[in-house]
């Protein structure tokens, strides 16, 4: 196997492993649009990272987190619904990123790569970042699993039972920001949400427990990465979108396979 292919596979699977459980929570909490909004602000993070001479993934993670905080603040005024706020934030952040990018005349940026991913260009350093970020995210998620699940089922009940709701919710946003930052190289900011949501949705029918659904989502995501890369080589299709299509194919396959689902 070629080196670049091994790195692509390792990077993709690394992202898929963390995206599974996190994506499950995004599905359960109906936060798909939230993930999208954070991802859209990723481009702004790249510009900031470039200007401040930071690591790009760090720039993206920090920007995503800032956008999440802005959202939390905006939610305090209760005039506009959250999905409206998300729509405003997502596209403002994306446009701001594009405009800011245009000011960076001295820097050449591969826009397509950031928008749709460049999994075949994953380098050794990228792998360290991906796996480092992933293991961090998975570790924190395992630690927060129980309170986060309680919060997802009923926030006020969890609060009465002693869960520190706001810190846990904030930590969850941080995890989403981290995974978006490391997943950007694989599928790009426009497609990241799909890697979070599609495997989790495909896993739903076969899962009998939250943990089962999270693990299955990780597995299906990894399979999608493998299938997508294979298809990309076989038919010379763009790799990131091919991975997403593979995940979608798994979802469709899982929906039509006969058998009784557990509710």
């Amino acid at each position: 196997m070629d080196d670049f292919l091994a790195r692509a596979l390792l990077g993709g699977v690394g992202v898929a492993l963390a995206a599974g459980p996190l994506g499950a929570f995004i599905v359960w909490r109906r936060m798909a649009y939230f993930g999208d909004t954070l991802a859209h602000s990723g481009l702004l993070g790249i510009v900031l990272g470039t200007v401040l001479n930071l690591n790009l993934q760090l720039g993206v993670a920090v920007t995503c987190l800032l956008v999440a905080l802005v959202l939390v603040l905006l939610q305090r005024q209760r005039r506009l619904a959250t999905d409206t706020l998300l729509g405003i934030l997502a596209h403002t952040a994306l446009s701001l990123g594009l405009v800011a990018l245009a000011f960076l005349e001295t820097v050449r940026v591969d826009l397509t790569g950031y928008l749709f991913g460049d999994i075949l260009a994953i380098g050794r350093i990228d792998l360290y970042w991906i796996w480092g970020g992933d293991l961090l995210a998975l570790g924190v998620l395992a630690w927060l699993w129980r309170p986060l699940l309680a919060l997802t089922v009923h926030e006020e009940l969890a609060q009465v039972e002693g869960v520190p709701v706001f810190p846990v919710r904030l930590a969850f946003m941080l995890l989403v920001a981290i995974v978006i930052a490391v997943a950007m190289k694989v599928v790009g900011i426009l497609l990241i949400t799909s890697l979070l949501i599609i495997p989790a949705a495909a896993a739903r029918r076969f899962a009998r427990s939250p943990e089962g659904m999270a693990l299955l989502a990780s597995g299906l995501g990894s399979v999608a990465v493998g299938l997508g890369l294979w298809a990309s080589l076989r038919w010379d299709t763009p790799a990131g979108p091919s991975v997403v299509l593979a995940a979608a194919a798994l979802f469709v396959l899982g929906s039509v396979v006969p058998g009784r689902s557990w509710r």
Binding site: A150, H154, A158, V160, M213
Partner: protein, 268 residues
């Protein structure tokens, strides 16, 4: 005098300029049931959320006995269909417990048969019981129940009310309950607090039922429903509709045909 669990003094709260609660005071003691009644929009759930510390009041203060364990049963549970969660997992989300303890808590509320069912697959009445079991598993000193019998069919309502009303004896906990079911509230609780943004009247149910403020709020309808409740049955139906004779009246059935001994009046 029973042990004091919770007091609220002169609670005032406005949300976006709309006054929701004005000068509300109440107290809950161990072994007694306080029922919050009032029309829609009276601020009952808001008051509960203030008492639980979920909302900060603009004025007044809430005191909880130090170390008080609170079991809370929220008004509704909107669990997303995509979350595969069994009743056992749901019940232990608040308090980790072994399967046998979960089974016992579910049996106490008459829902042992749903232990392994998905939460989304059980009926509304079963869900109410399961939520009560989760609150009980927390070994509460104080139970806070926000409309515990909504979504339950009529006979299930009687059963659930008897169950709740028995808890103050079997568990010795204080109970604060929001309810719409005037006839049941009047028959099973120790103190009624009639709320319409302020406390209209409060005290023993028999006392409140004669209060002009109560009659004005609930009118002759409330009075009539109360009268309906006092007629006698010689049997009732269990959850499955089977006839269960009411003899002899057990002490935990404070409901349909057992005349309660007069209790001391507590005007809070």
């Amino acid at each position: 005098m029973a042990e004091l669990l919770l007091t609220a003094e002169n609670i005032g709260l406005a949300i976006r300029g709309n006054p929701i609660l004005h000068d509300v005071s109440l107290r809950v003691v161990a072994g007694k049931i306080v029922a919050l009644i009032g029309p829609n929009g009276a601020g009952k759930s808001t008051l509960v959320r203030v008492l639980l510390g979920l909302l900060r009041p603009d004025s007044g203060r809430v005191w909880l006995r130090p170390g008080l364990r609170v079991g809370y049963m929220p008004q509704r549970l909107a669990l997303d269909d995509t979350l595969p969660l069994s009743v056992q997992r749901f019940v232990t989300l608040g308090t980790p417990a072994a399967r046998a303890r979960v089974q016992a808590a579910l049996a106490e509320v008459g829902a042992a048969h749903v232990l392994d069912s998905p939460v989304q697959a059980i009926s509304g009445g079963e869900l109410q019981r399961v939520m009560l079991a989760r609150a009980l598993l927390h070994e509460p000193d104080l139970l806070v129940l926000d409309e515990p019998i909504q979504g339950v069919d009529l006979h299930g309502q009687y059963e659930l009310y008897d169950l709740i009303s028995g808890l103050r004896r079997t568990r010795g906990c204080g109970i604060l309950m929001v309810s719409h079911e005037l006839h049941l509230v009047m028959a099973t609780t120790d103190q009624v607090l009639c709320l319409n943004r302020h406390v209209c009247c409060s005290g023993h149910p028999d006392h409140v039922a004669r209060d002009p403020a109560y009659l004005e709020l609930f009118g002759s309808d409330g009075a009539r429903r109360l009268a309906v409740y006092h007629h006698h049955h010689n049997h009732h139906h269990d959850l499955h509709g089977a006839v269960v004779p009411d003899l002899p009246p057990s002490p935990t059935r404070g409901g349909e045909n057992v005349r309660r001994p007069p209790m001391e009046q507590d005007h809070g």
